[in-house]
């Protein structure tokens, strides 16, 4: 025992300066965090992690290498090998002493940080400060520090030179932290995710046990190998060549692995320029594959102060913001003058375009006018309609114009609603029909007026007149309750909810309408004939199968047979850790030939494609990125191609994949 104590005293005495430096650092940094807090930066919680993850890892590396390399100089090594102690004893005590230094500093850092946070937290948040977070941080970081220390100890023992050993150990630390992020099979070793996941919850989950077990196993193996290296006097010569090639190869391999996950591997068949200005982007498009119409936004130089007139029924003066309709020819770049300016406000919603290839120069666009939405507008209607009423206009645009500042021509207007309180009017398109939906309103106090939610279904005839097909109403309160059931069902991945009752519509159409009026973010969720697809943040996707619910399964109070659909989660493609970090919020989606196309803006503007041919096992087919682009629209052409529309049209042929 005296030998052990003597060796431990020697090691701790030699490493005491590391302990002093580490403790000083760990005291200074939390104080710095508090200073950040004073100046308004929310850096405290992050620093708690960063102190021990980044600097703590470096501290472990330096301590381990110092502990080993100091005793491997020519004279010192000869001396200690001549002592009457075994190499295992010598190495064991050295390893344990250094590890004690590292862990004591790491634990002290976390404890000090937490005590400081508790001492300086005032007000209602004071009671929220518990020991769960620091204990969780220790549970994750103690194995991490141990593994880092052990690997550095091994490298120091095998190399014997401090500089290359530190260099390679830091590289190994980077691998320990980032390889699990890059390699999905090692995701359970993702330290950052473990810290995030176990943040404030006091728990020791199986995942945490798996992570800690693996890291401690790595540490154990490294310690045994270090002992073998010293026992057999193995010494690896590391020169600049070895260091240089090791660093280069490892970094490029890691970069390649990352690129394979989030990098671009899809190539467009061709890219067709469509906008005239750099800032102009396509909002909406419709095409037959050869020709088409696009609605663009962003060309801000057109008629910013011009007065426009609606010659048939109304006069509207608006602040024109350069919304443009363009005819497109897939085989040629359109002329910049082929455009018609229309008013602003349209960018807030999807614009249905009604267009037929047989009349390629004519496009019809539904317009909703009201003083509420267009505060700058002065609307004078000949028939004396009071201001504030919502009016649906049908803009018929002739694309053959002499210049781009042609007049907006509205060929038909209809009075939508009699009541002045109508907001969030939404116009959307289904096949060749225009549908106008208002969500309705019910006040919380009983004295207010209830306004039902309404759906108008309109047909547009070749003369660009509106023909009302049907008008439906639902009590706003009922619709609100229905929305809640929809959200509950979808967020729980299972369950059932009632569809809106629209006679003669099939289940898919009714589901689409029900989701639409429920206010669901349609880019996030879409569906095909049998499946509902939900895009999750970080480039993951969930597949839910929907089916009608039989009468015997339906509670009498919920609806009739066939009015409800049941959801069942059949497949899930979780995002990889790297995808979770880089994100991928959807802007538009499209299902076409069992492929799901999603426009995302992270990590770069582009498109992700998922293969849904096996709904139980959806997989990511690829990713296309086009930095500098701004994609807003995604359409499929009759010949099976998919067009990603932004500043240019990026045309893909999925048959090639």
């Amino acid at each position: 025992m005296r030998i052990y104590l003597a060796l431990a005293w020697k090691e701790l005495h030699e490493l005491r300066w590391f302990w002093y430096a580490g403790m000083a650092l760990m005291v200074v940094l939390p104080l710095t965090a508090e200073l950040y807090e004073v100046f308004g930066f929310a850096g405290r919680a992050r620093l708690l992690v960063n102190v021990t993850l980044a600097l703590g890892a470096a501290f472990a590396v330096f301590t381990a290498v110092a502990a080993t390399c100091r005793d491997l100089g020519a004279g010192v090594e000869t001396f200690w090998r001549s002592r009457p102690i075994s190499v295992a004893t010598y190495v064991g005590v050295k390893f344990a002493s250094g590890l004690l230094i590292v862990l004591s500093v790491a634990v002290a850092a976390i404890v000090f940080q937490h005590l400081l946070t508790m001492a300086l937290t005032f007000g209602p948040g004071r009671g929220d400060q518990t020991w769960a977070e620091p204990l969780n941080a220790m549970a994750v970081q103690a194995p991490v520090m141990t593994a880092m220390y052990a690997v550095a100890f091994l490298l120091g023992a095998a190399i014997g030179q401090a500089v290359p050993a530190v260099f390679l150990a830091l590289l190994a630390g980077l691998m320990l932290y980032f390889v699990p992020v890059l390699l999905p099979p090692l995701a359970y070793m993702d330290v950052f995710e473990a810290l995030r996941h176990h943040g404030r919850r006091p728990q020791l989950s199986p995942q945490l046990g798996e992570l800690a077990g693996t890291l401690l196993a790595i540490a154990g193996v490294a310690a045994v190998l270090a002992w073998l290296a010293l026992e057999r006097q193995v010494r690896i010569a590391v020169n600049a060549h070895v260091l240089g090639w090791t660093v280069a190869v490892l970094l490029l391999v890691m970069m390649s692995v990352a690129a394979m996950q989030i990098g671009s591997n899809l190539t467009p068949e061709r890219v067709v320029p469509v906008t005239a200005e750099r800032n102009e982007v396509v909002l909406e498009m419709i095409t037959d594959g050869q020709r088409g119409i696009v609605a663009t936004v962003g060309a801000g130089q057109i008629n910013t102060q011009s007065r426009r007139e609606l010659p048939d029924h109304a006069h509207v003066r608006v602040d024109i913001r350069g919304r443009i309709l363009r005819s497109i020819d897939m085989n040629a770049k359109p002329a910049a003058s082929e455009g018609v300016g229309i008013d602003r406000g349209w960018h807030r919603r999807t614009i249905p375009l009604f267009w037929t290839p047989s009349r390629p120069q004519r496009v019809t666009v539904p317009l909703v006018f009201s003083m509420t939405e267009y505060p700058e507008a002065e609307i004078v209607f000949p028939d004396g309609l009071p201001v504030g009423h919502r009016l649906l206009g049908l803009g018929a645009f002739d694309l053959i114009r002499e210049s781009s500042d042609a007049l907006v021509r509205a060929t038909s207007f209809q009075r939508l609603f009699d009541t002045p309180y109508v907001f969030n009017v939404d116009v959307f398109q289904r096949d060749n029909r225009a549908m106008v939906f208002t969500p309705g309103y019910f006040p919380h106090n009983e004295d207010g007026t209830h306004h039902p939610a309404r759906l108008m279904e309109l047909a547009i005839n070749p003369d660009h007149d509106l023909t009302s097909l049907r008008s439906l109403e639902w009590p706003a309160r009922e619709l609100s309750q229905r929305r809640s059931s929809i959200w509950r069902a979808l967020l729980n991945d299972e369950g059932a909810f009632q569809l809106l009752d629209v006679p003669e519509w099939d289940m898919a159409e009714r589901l689409w309408l029900t989701l639409k009026v429920a206010g669901w973010d349609m880019p996030t969720i879409t569906f095909d004939e049998h499946h509902l697809l939900r895009f999750t943040h970080g480039q993951g996707v969930e597949v839910l199968r929907y089916s009608p619910v039989a009468r015997r399964d339906i509670n009498d109070q919920t609806g009739a047979n066939g009015d409800m659909v049941r959801f069942e989660r059949v497949g899930h493609r979780p995002p990889t850790p790297l995808e979770r970090i880089t994100g991928g919020h959807p802007l538009a989606s499209l299902v076409h030939d069992d492929l799901l196309f999603v426009i995302v803006h992270e990590p770069q503007p582009g498109m992700i494609v998922f293969d849904l041919r096996e709904p139980e096992q959806p997989r990511k087919l690829g990713h296309y990125a086009a930095p500098g682009e701004l994609f807003m629209s995604l359409v499929a052409t009759p010949d099976g191609k998919v067009i990603l529309a932004g500043r240019d049209l990026h045309i893909f042929d999925p048959a090639d994949w």
Partner: protein, 243 residues
């Protein structure tokens, strides 16, 4: 004798050339293929690696290993003037830092020329880094000429860069505009160009993110040539080395 010196330097430096080309070409190709960030940023990062990091690493291996191994005295006893020996060393170093940049330029031009960045700016962007890399190489070699370990030369090189950056940032004029809202731009005042080898300046390309590295000007090359002269003189001058 000069051919022998060139052969010796080539044998010693060729693996750095291979490694430099491997890193530069690999980084550029993977980055431009993946398109996780803009092409201009990939080219900027490749240019920074080739024009700043690589020259320091190469400078570390020019003279210090000779001092560490004790072969400097042998070199100085050869029937060639010390200036010639030093010139061969720096010329080989310049070649080793230049070719990876040219290789990366070729890859960038082939893969992404005209895609986001016009082709001529891809070429000019990389070629502008070549004199910058040579300038950094010359300064680092000169400042570390009396040091006897590679690590110390590396530290001197990094310190030199930091001083340049501090000088450049301290004398920068911040330019906010960018009507299209793309980028905050920093621009060095004119006279700083000629005295600070490495700093940040507006790129001439109109379609590219307007942050770039600028490292040379005619006066800067003259100053670097003078620094090289000092290095050559110190290389041949007997005296106590440090470290």
């Amino acid at each position: 004798m000069i051919r022998s010196l060139i052969w010796k330097e080539w044998m010693e430096q060729r693996w750095w050339l291979l490694l430099g080309c491997f890193i530069m070409v690999g980084f550029t190709a993977i980055g431009l293929q993946a398109r996780v960030i803009e092409d201009s940023m990939i080219m900027l990062m490749a240019g920074f690696t080739g024009a700043v990091v690589l020259p320091i690493v190469i400078a570390m291996g020019l003279v210090a290993p000779e001092r560490e191994a004790g072969t400097v005295s042998t070199l100085l006893r050869l029937p060639a003037r010390p200036t010639v020996v030093y010139a061969v060393k720096t010329a080989m170093g310049a070649l080793v830092v230049s070719l990876p940049l040219v290789a990366a330029m070729a890859v960038a031009w082939l893969m992404a020329g005209g895609r986001e960045v016009p082709g001529q700016y891809v070429i000019s962007g990389f070629l502008e880094r070549v004199p910058m890399a040579v300038v950094v190489l010359v300064w680092t070699t000169t400042l570390g000429i009396r040091l006897s370990t590679e690590a110390r030369v590396g530290v001197v090189g990094v310190a030199f860069l930091l001083v340049c950056m501090v000088l450049a940032v301290a004398l920068l004029r911040v330019v906010m505009p960018m009507s299209d809202g793309r980028v905050l731009m920093f621009e060095a005042t004119h006279w700083v160009h000629d005295f600070v080898p490495v700093h940040v300046i507006r790129s001439p390309s109109p379609g590219v993110i307007n942050i770039g590295l600028y490292g040379w000007s005619p006066l800067q090359l003259v100053i670097a040539a003078a620094a090289w002269g000092v290095g050559a003189w110190l290389f041949g001058k007997p005296g106590r080395t440090r470290g």
